[in-house]
Symmetry: C2
Subunit: 85 residues, 2 copies
Amino acid sequence: MSKIIDIGKKSIDDYVFDIIVSFQEGIDNVIIKGYGEYISKAVDVYNELYSRLGESIELINIEIGSEKKSGRLKSYIAISIKRKY
Amino acid sequence: MSKIIDIGKKSIDDYVFDIIVSFQEGIDNVIIKGYGEYISKAVDVYNELYSRLGESIELINIEIGSEKKSGRLKSYIAISIKRKY
């Protein structure tokens, strides 16, 4: 099971907490997705998560590109991570 | 030959222009590097470059992490691209 965490206005710690709870609920793969100005925060969330969970998560893939969102092209990042058992 | 383009306050187009000039000067690999708030802009620069040069560039690697900069840990992205001939 996988889940997309869409990064927005909540705090970095809130997203980290959401991801840890998702793992506890049995989600194996999480995609941290940030658009536009939230790309930087998506990387912050990954780094904070890594500093808390370390080797028990694995970075699977990083994708960057642009997508239409609300009618205009926006840059995005999608950071795929996996929980290791 | 490779070159690091450190993303800061200049416009997206300025960085795209710097990279195109670097390729014309014989640089093969460029690393677009952005710290903190400039991570989003680094992705914008890549997307803009891709929309201009398309298939003549290749995305080699994307690295994310955190590094000490000015005495404190900062998130970064390093987007490695290669010119194709």
